[in-house]
Symmetry: D2
Subunit: 345 residues, 4 copies
Amino acid sequence: MRVGIVGVTGYTGSELLRLLIAHGGVNLAYVTSRSYQGRPLAHVHPQYLQITELQCSKFSLEEAVEKTDLIFSALPHGESMETVPMLSKAGLKVIDLSADFRIEEEENYKQWYGKEHTAADYLGKAVYGLPELYRGKIKNACLVANPGCYPTSVILALAPLAQMNLVQWDTLVVDSKSGTSGAGRVPSQVLHYPECTENFRAYRVARHQHTPEMEQELGRLAGREVTFTFVPHLVPMVRGILSTIYVTLTAKWQEEEIRALYQRFYQTEKYVRIFPPEFLPETKYVYGSNYCDLYLKLDSRTGRLIIISVLDNLVKGAAGQALQNMNIMLDFPEDKGLEAVPLRP
Amino acid sequence: MRVGIVGVTGYTGSELLRLLIAHGGVNLAYVTSRSYQGRPLAHVHPQYLQITELQCSKFSLEEAVEKTDLIFSALPHGESMETVPMLSKAGLKVIDLSADFRIEEEENYKQWYGKEHTAADYLGKAVYGLPELYRGKIKNACLVANPGCYPTSVILALAPLAQMNLVQWDTLVVDSKSGTSGAGRVPSQVLHYPECTENFRAYRVARHQHTPEMEQELGRLAGREVTFTFVPHLVPMVRGILSTIYVTLTAKWQEEEIRALYQRFYQTEKYVRIFPPEFLPETKYVYGSNYCDLYLKLDSRTGRLIIISVLDNLVKGAAGQALQNMNIMLDFPEDKGLEAVPLRP
Amino acid sequence: MRVGIVGVTGYTGSELLRLLIAHGGVNLAYVTSRSYQGRPLAHVHPQYLQITELQCSKFSLEEAVEKTDLIFSALPHGESMETVPMLSKAGLKVIDLSADFRIEEEENYKQWYGKEHTAADYLGKAVYGLPELYRGKIKNACLVANPGCYPTSVILALAPLAQMNLVQWDTLVVDSKSGTSGAGRVPSQVLHYPECTENFRAYRVARHQHTPEMEQELGRLAGREVTFTFVPHLVPMVRGILSTIYVTLTAKWQEEEIRALYQRFYQTEKYVRIFPPEFLPETKYVYGSNYCDLYLKLDSRTGRLIIISVLDNLVKGAAGQALQNMNIMLDFPEDKGLEAVPLRP
Amino acid sequence: MRVGIVGVTGYTGSELLRLLIAHGGVNLAYVTSRSYQGRPLAHVHPQYLQITELQCSKFSLEEAVEKTDLIFSALPHGESMETVPMLSKAGLKVIDLSADFRIEEEENYKQWYGKEHTAADYLGKAVYGLPELYRGKIKNACLVANPGCYPTSVILALAPLAQMNLVQWDTLVVDSKSGTSGAGRVPSQVLHYPECTENFRAYRVARHQHTPEMEQELGRLAGREVTFTFVPHLVPMVRGILSTIYVTLTAKWQEEEIRALYQRFYQTEKYVRIFPPEFLPETKYVYGSNYCDLYLKLDSRTGRLIIISVLDNLVKGAAGQALQNMNIMLDFPEDKGLEAVPLRP
């Protein structure tokens, strides 16, 4: 199988490349970049010197069709919706890492992303690429909308409860903390090293664009509309998301019963680890790997359930999950190319 | 006036020293350390080379009484309750930076700190040293219990609402994030650089010992018992606490009305800054300074109020607040020695 | 006395502001910014909220002359040489923090800074603002060229040896390491947090523009032309420079004799600390302060002298030294506004 | 083949484990730990939860012999010399990651490591495990002394010159900078997060114990005794070493000629990358990988050659090189288990 990456020089593109090189089962035949067209990839990211001879091409539909069978689109949102429909129409399988095909309601997209969707007819055609929930659909999908980093951490953390109708949705508070690579490769004042290190801040308080994606997917699982408060924060580190989720249950369950529910729900899932009560997850425990680690604590004083969910935003939160989806679509073992043990320390 | 520091070599002791050197109005006449007795302070913390000639003494009650009028105790909790009563009985004014005299209920102390209180008769004698709320009492206090770092950030954030009975207490969730200096100067695996940097974690989930202190003080303001969920997290940075506080109000207020309430409540307070809606607080904005910055956001989708509270845990969260208390007790201008502008970048 | 800052929103401008607010003896009457003209300074740097009401003006010669007696120019090099001569001609005292008036030879400037000098007639008029060496000249100067950060660390480290002709100049190697704030406030790929943290690199190897400044000043002290190798490196931290300097002496001195020479040379200098052999300097020991710490080690195996020199690049390496120069020029105590103890941890 | 790790819970042991899990060709049958005996490895390092079921055994010679064919010793120096001879006598192949068998001269060991060598008869039997230089000997070795992290970076950087007699040895200065994981897993004041972050320091100036190892190996290549100055520094990051090496050549070579020499010398070596002049190496370019990147710059002003050498201290500087040695000894492809692309960002 021949695969390609459109938008290879950003962080998700580069991470895909890292994983695809280790994969071994596919031929990475085509990578594109608007900013670096014609240049060797190793000149953009010198860690690849003597590792890959790939050159960044300018995107061309003809070349994509000719050279590949499956394309990863790692373009920013807003750009992906211009390119992905062309690729899909031309018969290529597409895994889109942007947000452009995750939101089903056109209105919702416009409201949260601040622009009109120019390929609204494709909104319903994409499969939401969360393998633990939609493996069957992904297998036969032509277009996979790869989930966002925050949504992956939150949906996996709440899915077992949502399916059992155990969540009092109006009590739900999601407080997430992310490393800086989620903000991408373009320099900015906020991510300027002297201002970002030794600093901690919230951002887009109660108005982050991943909110409707989470509400849509959790609502689907719950079989009803759900609305909740989501506040993301920026941690002075490169990789990792930790979401702390506060929820009141609709029924009196013991902590051990809840943990058992999660263990059953995820018992065949390699990449979701239910932590025992004596170990709290840390972002370093998943560094560079495809795991999502979950921790459950019932606060007996308030009756509130606290869920902690941890993943590497560039792997399970982006490129790793995309590769997992590719493996499903192309009938590879689901963990192929994703065997790397977390890098720690 | 002559002052002393018992336990000068830990981080709060050392930070007190930093501020007292800049203060200029008192004579720092006596500093003690168990681990470093007999050694120049500059040999323990070489940043003080050629700045102070102070030697670490072994603690002696006689010497303390003879040399000082006011003592800061920067001993760890559990040790402070052995020493502070002696100092107080001997007629010295005492500002205690440990938790030992913050909790009024002996049972509460035992439950959360895991040990018997050996000076329970002093529990009721201490004034809780939060100047913005208890300035009058502090002025005449013999023993001030200097508030904890998390409690300062949370109580200042909620005081205006608590006094107005605007909080539905059972909805309250406090998600705090702290730099590492709050954990003190003793090396540990968790704070070992290779494991702590590039890492983010929660700890003492729903069982942190600052919980009863917050509940006690907020309960006092609210005139009722309150119980809520508190989850602290460790940020890979040295200084700074950011608390994100989620609360449903008991009445329909507009965001602007709430902000106006806060501005009135704190209008004469130099060290509480109510941020305008267009600026989110960051921990670097208070680095090395005595400010506590507050931000208010009403999430119109859920009706929930989100409060963000930021301070430097070693200054407003410990040594700076202690100096503020000293200034009140000794009739200095309240900001003397606390004029430093935040250090940024 | 009324002072102003031209270019207040960069890091050296902002650091000057921080120090001038603490100074108390001058009236900061005028600050300018091209990018933020008309905006409150606290909107550019929110740490100043409720601390200063200053507004960023557009630069105007008339206003500068009318409102101030002394101006700090914190413009980038290349821009300072356009503005400073105007200010100077108009009779204002000027302290220029750029490199534009540090290099005496016009040719040298052109070669290392890659552009023609447009105010070459002023090159000879500026006094090199290193108080420990040129205090007398600074006192009467109209125009002070404030030294670079690397040069301050290296010249102070070598001055005692240079004056005694103890250096075999062709053996000299200077290996410097700097925090990131030295690179300024404009975002760039190199300082983008995800690429800069957990990373270490050399840059401008043997071609950094501070080289001729060091060679000029050391040559002046030595009474001969000197040429050496200088390699700077970027450390993932905000503040601090550590220079490791390797030199073979022209005579056989014992380590203790060399240390005694340094102690005599700097015995009345508050801001140069000669460390005892049992303590190695660290950049945190000078954090936020005006100290330059020196350590001397004679490697008995090779006969080579190793000098370690440490300072805070924004203070003694820029704004602090500028304030020290101002104090000298305006007859304030030299340490006024510079009393702050290093911030650690 | 069955392999074991003695001392698995330290950073080099844990890194070996990470790489061996990815290797696939050997059976990791036995791991020991004194501090954690009887406990699952995943309880010591929770990143391994659900990845390995290995338990930490107490070391026993019988068990080691029975269960393994090759042992990695990741014990600290001083302990390795007690254990390794037993293993070797019992017929196991041993790769020792400590310094205990790297130094050939007993006196040298005593002088630099401060203790008597208790297995001096083994000093001559070990092969120095630098594959690029001693591949043939390693292939047939019973005992491999795996090189130190600093020595690997320095010897690879100088080997081509040393063999050609191009180095004026008395001019050589080696200024190295290392991340913190090289100091190991035991907490200490120096590596306590609040004191180590935002800080830079030199340590063991001209007296680091890796000095004699470098001098011995470079002396062997040069065919003469060599002595030079080595100063290591601590960088606030986890992984990575960058050595800046200053040398005057014995002959006039052009930079391009030197680069060509290096390219020839290392042309068949996968893990030594000679960087083109337009790219400076950074430690992140080798993060988590087995590469050693070299950069060459002739300073035309001084005639001095500057070499920059970069590697990941835990991989090419320790566990990766050990695995490379194992592959050679066991006839695996030399890069097996070492294919991982550097992790960046």
